[in-house]
């Protein structure tokens, strides 16, 4: 008997179960597929973009879509399609790293405060509530206005905004799980706290955490793009989608494609991420409501 095989078997079983459920949910399937296409664009975008995203050509200013430039060109004669493709990476990096950091910081906070409870929990949660009482976009704007918009700062702002939310989710899962009999059985046999966190509580918290993270990621795209549009996101000449929209606003009537291309791309990405996270929730935690 090989001790590693039971784990493997259970994992492949879970995977099969999820796959069966996924097949019955076409919207989730579509969401995940589109998301994966964007992910691939983010990874290899610069190599498959038809043109350079910075190459300017005054002759080709504000050209409507053509075979050469499927999404047309912008005010500097740059290829809009290429800028949209290359811009994918930026948005994935900003939102993705920000969300990831928030998960890495928020999870231990939620686990610890939820498990220990008492005054520590009360104080930490009260402080996190304060963050949550301020609308995210407002807090992001105020923070960015002082530290200045840079890629690193954007990531940090996303992280600061999402740590409380992630911590809350993990905490409520932990509160739910810590009094479960299997955790008490672990305490009774003298397991260390690290074992209880990592092996008893965390595995059950992974599914809701994943769902929450995918939802946060979708909001982060939304927010980073909004910040770009407001001029407090990524600075020119980055091919940031929000920034492109902000710049294209001025000649919208003359050349709507410059604006519509990134606008529709953002919508597509956010919608597919939403469909994905909603699908993940239905697949991994069927029977639970929520947004």
């Amino acid at each position: 008997m090989n001790p590693s095989s039971p784990q493997k078997r259970s994992r492949s079983q879970t995977a099969r179960l999820y796959w069966r459920r996924l097949k019955r949910r076409p919207t989730a399937f579509v969401g995940i597929t589109i998301f994966l296409i964007f992910l691939i664009l983010a990874l290899i975008g610069p190599w498959i973009a038809p043109h350079s995203y910075v190459a300017q050509d005054v002759q080709l200013r504000l050209q409507p879509p053509s075979l050469q430039h499927p999404f047309g060109t912008d005010q500097f004669g740059r290829d809009v399609l290429s800028r949209v493709i290359v811009g994918t990476r930026g948005i994935f990096l900003l939102g993705g790293i920000g969300t990831l950091l928030a998960v890495l910081i928020g999870t231990p906070i939620g686990l610890f405060t939820g498990y220990v409870g008492g005054a520590v929990d009360e104080i930490v949660m009260r402080l996190l509530d304060v963050f949550l009482s301020i609308p995210s976009l407002l807090l992001a704007l105020v923070l960015l206005s002082t530290v200045g918009p840079s890629k690193l700062n954007l990531i940090l702002v996303v992280t600061v905004l999402y740590v409380p939310m992630i911590a809350r989710v993990v905490r409520s899962m932990t509160l739910d799980l810590k009094n479960k009999e299997f955790v008490e059985a672990a305490r009774v046999r003298g397991e260390r706290r690290s074992y209880i966190f990592l092996r008893e509580i965390l595995p059950s918290a992974v599914a809701p955490l994943l769902v929450e993270a995918s939802m946060r990621f979708s909001y982060s795209i939304f927010m980073v793009a909004s910040l770009g549009f407001l001029g407090l996101g990524v600075q020119p000449p980055s091919p940031d989608w929000g920034l492109q929209i902000n710049e294209a606003k001025n000649f919208f009537y003359a050349a709507p494609w410059v604006l519509l291309a990134p606008a529709l791309t953002i919508s597509l990405l956010v919608i597919s991420t939403n469909l994905m996270s909603d699908g993940l929730r239905q697949i991994m935690q069927p029977g639970r409501g929520g947004l």
Binding site: M1, S5, V188
Partner: protein, 697 residues
């Protein structure tokens, strides 16, 4: 009333087939079910979970989930074929001709509206009454269900009433229109034993008072024995046996019913501990039923012919039907159930035996979360355990019995250290233990383990069976590497699970199997004491019996001591050497099991014994009922804490002075102001069983 029985039945179900359309295809949940109920009659639908008893009842009145449908057969209500009744007329029948009482009264009532409105609504709808008249009718009905102060109850919201009170409201609501059919779906399952007894009395009284035919759904053979005239035993969607209650309990003619009776522990005071007759195997899955008799696989009398063809449901004699081809050879109850069991150990554990664990004056006070701003508001102390002293001898079982809120679980949790005792002392082998689990050394952890109540939460869904049992072996014993695995396989064998379960995940196990794994895990490091916190309460009757057998066998083999906690007095008396009866955080009586359960009793024990449902229609029980509900542990009554509900309260002395512990020999104590002799006299005949069954060997 005998003349009326010949009249047309109120409900007549014939060859009813109910199908659920699932994603894996149709599921025949109920097949060819037939039964009839007459006026003034109560018919018990008895079955374990998954037997289809609720589906059958709800299908009969055509209230099924969206994916459920009636695939065949007929249902007649007062002679009217329900299949022909259009939907809106069916709605009219619900509520006017058909009243329903549900398992959980709190969730059955709308939390946002006052009780009065919810009850009166029925009269407005079906009896054309206006607000004032319907309220008057509601008050009248509440009075009929013996509700104290019905006017004020009308103005309450559901969350402000206790479970027993709520169930009376639901019963009153169901009876508003004097329906011809009353369906009661496990109406007392969610209630405490003493409240259950009160509600059962009420149902019994209403049966005489109203004409309604009662369809009573339950899994509890004790309840059914108390309340029903006729019963039908369902198994995996088919009737196995049907007929007169007494006939079925005295001379069952289907092996399933016979064995079900064997799974229920009977009061066998003073006898040695013995195993129960149980049913091997599992209930078959509805989608994988065999061609032959669906019980054949688990039946010791099955022969080849049984597996060929599904036997018909036949009439035998008088009013008695069976689905068994070989019903004539089914042995009598006394012979099979009460005589054939093997003796496991002598009951006992007197003063002379050494104490493994001693708890002295243990208290546990929970502080409620603050209600005020910044935690400075009032806090309330909940005295969950309020000074308990007890001990457990080597290799013996101490049973703790009490209703919800008695502190029975909390005292066990303080012993094992999951809760830190507020004061008092817990000793293992004469050594005082740290109150906090984290301060106890491995050597102590190894000796005390626990089996929890809820099998679904007992095992980590992400940990395989082998890992779950192997962890305590690794942590608490010297075993390492291959030894651990060998030990786990040994334990699996001990709890009668096949060795390939090593790789199973909890999600693949049934409730009973999960609990077996939990028991194996508790035994993993060979502890001296195992705390069993209601380990069988949430399981089916037949699984309960098998697990009790398992626990007793393991104890006999390994000499482990048990602390067995349950609200079920019959399970406690079956397993225990000593019994402690607790109420509101304090022991009322404790000592040798036989002595605790024979007079003299504490008045509370007496009430429990007269309330406990016994699976014997002829058992005679005193009619002692407790008024009101258990007071809050935040506000414990002065004097004797039981005095507000005590039927034998003496007066001022009980209200003001704490009672003395009265000693009855060296192994029995009662916490009461009434002297032992007087108690003995007044309490004769609290529980008399029809036959001296234990002595039938």
């Amino acid at each position: 009333m005998a003349a009326e029985v010949n009249k047309q039945p109120v409900l007549e179900v014939e060859d009813l087939d109910i199908v659920y359309d699932t994603e894996h295809g149709p599921l025949d949940a109920v097949r060819k079910a037939s039964f009839a109920i007459h006026e003034h009659e109560s018919f018990g639908l008895v079955g374990e979970s998954g037997s289809g008893k609720s589906t059958l009842a709800m299908g009969a009145i055509r209230y099924l989930a969206a994916n459920g449908r009636i695939a065949g057969g007929s249902v007649r209500l007062n002679g009217k074929e329900l299949a022909d009744v259009p939907r809106h007329e069916m709605r009219h029948l619900w509520g006017s001709q058909i009243g329903v009482v549900y398992q959980s009264p709190l969730s059955a009532l709308n939390p946002s509206y006052r009780i009065g409105r919810q009850i009166a609504e029925v009269a407005q709808l079906h009896m054309g009454m206006d607000k004032a008249k319907s309220s008057a009718r509601a008050i009248e009905m509440l009075t009929k269900v013996a509700m104290p102060d019905p006017e004020s109850v009308m103005r309450r919201y559901p969350h402000q009433l206790s479970g027993g009170m709520l169930q009376r409201c639901v019963i009153a609501m169901a009876l508003m229109t004097n329906p011809s059919l009353l369906i009661m779906d496990e109406p007392t399952t969610a209630l405490d034993v003493t409240t259950q007894a009160v509600v059962l009395d009420l149902v019994w009284g209403l049966k005489q008072q109203f004409d309604s035919a009662i369809l009573y759904i339950t899994h509890d053979l004790g309840v059914v024995a108390k309340i029903c005239d006729r019963i039908g035993v369902l198994y995996a969607g088919e009737f196995m046996e049907q007929g007169d209650l007494r006939q079925i309990f005295h001379t069952p003619i289907h092996p399933y019913m016979l064995n079900l009776l064997g799974c229920v522990p009977h009061f066998d005071l003073g006898q040695a501990k013995r195993s129960l007759v149980c049913i091997p195997g599992f209930i078959p899955r509805i989608d994988e039923l065999p061609d032959g008799c669906i019980f054949a696989e688990r039946c010791e009398w099955a022969e080849e012919a049984c597996t060929v063809e599904r036997p018909p449901f036949v009439h035998t004699k008088d009013d008695h039907y069976t689905a068994c081809r070989r019903w004539e050879i089914v042995p009598p109850v006394d012979e099979h159930v009460f005589a054939a069991t093997s003796e496991l150990a002598q009951r006992g554990g007197g003063e002379d035996e050494a104490h493994l664990v001693e708890a002295t004056d243990v208290r546990k006070i929970f502080r409620t979360p603050s209600t005020g701003l910044l935690g400075r508001g009032e806090r309330h102390d909940i005295h969950a355990v309020d000074g308990m002293t007890l001990w457990i001898s080597h290799g013996r079982t101490l049973g703790i019995v009490g209703e919800s809120g008695s502190g029975k679980t909390t005292v066990a949790r303080t012993i094992i250290g999951l809760e830190e005792a507020t004061s008092g002392e817990i000793k293992l082998h004469d050594e005082v233990l740290a109150t906090s689990l984290s301060k106890r050394p491995r050597s102590v952890l190894k000796e005390i383990q626990m089996v929890f109540q809820n099998p679904d939460a007992s095992l980590n869904p992400h940990t395989s069976v082998g890992e779950a049992i192997g962890r305590p072996v690794r942590l608490l014993t010297d075993a390492s590497g291959a030894e651990i695995q060998a030990r786990v396989l040994e334990l699996l064998d001990a709890v009668q699970l096949p060795s390939n379960y090593y790789y199973r995940m909890p999600g693949e196990l049934s409730g009973g199997e999960k609990q077996r794994v939990a028991i194996a895990r508790a035994f993993a490091a060979d502890p001296e004491l195992i705390l069993c916190d209601e380990p069988i309460s949430s399981l089916d009757v037949s699984v309960q019996g098998a697990l009790m057998n398992l626990l007793m066998t393991l104890q006999a083999e390994k000499g482990t001591s048990f602390l067995f906690i349950s609200h079920d007095l019959s399970a406690v008396q079956h397993l225990s050497d000593w019994i402690s009866v607790v109420y509101l955080g304090h022991m009322m009586e404790w000592g040798d099991a036989t002595k605790v359960l024979t007079p003299p009793f504490h008045p509370y024990t007496e009430a429990l014994l007269s309330a406990v449902p016994v699976a014997d229609p002829d058992a005679k029980q005193a009619n002692i009922r407790l008024e009101g509900s258990v007071p809050s542990a935040m506000d414990i009554p002065p004097g004797c804490r039981f005095h507000p509900r005590c039927p034998r309260c003496l007066g001022d002395i009980c209200r003001t002075e704490e009672p003395p512990w009265r000693e009855d020999g060296g192994d029995h104590w009662i916490y009461c102001h009434i002297p032992l002799e007087e108690l003995r006299e007044m309490e004769a005949g609290t529980l008399e069983l029809a036959t001296e069954r234990g002595g039938a060997e």
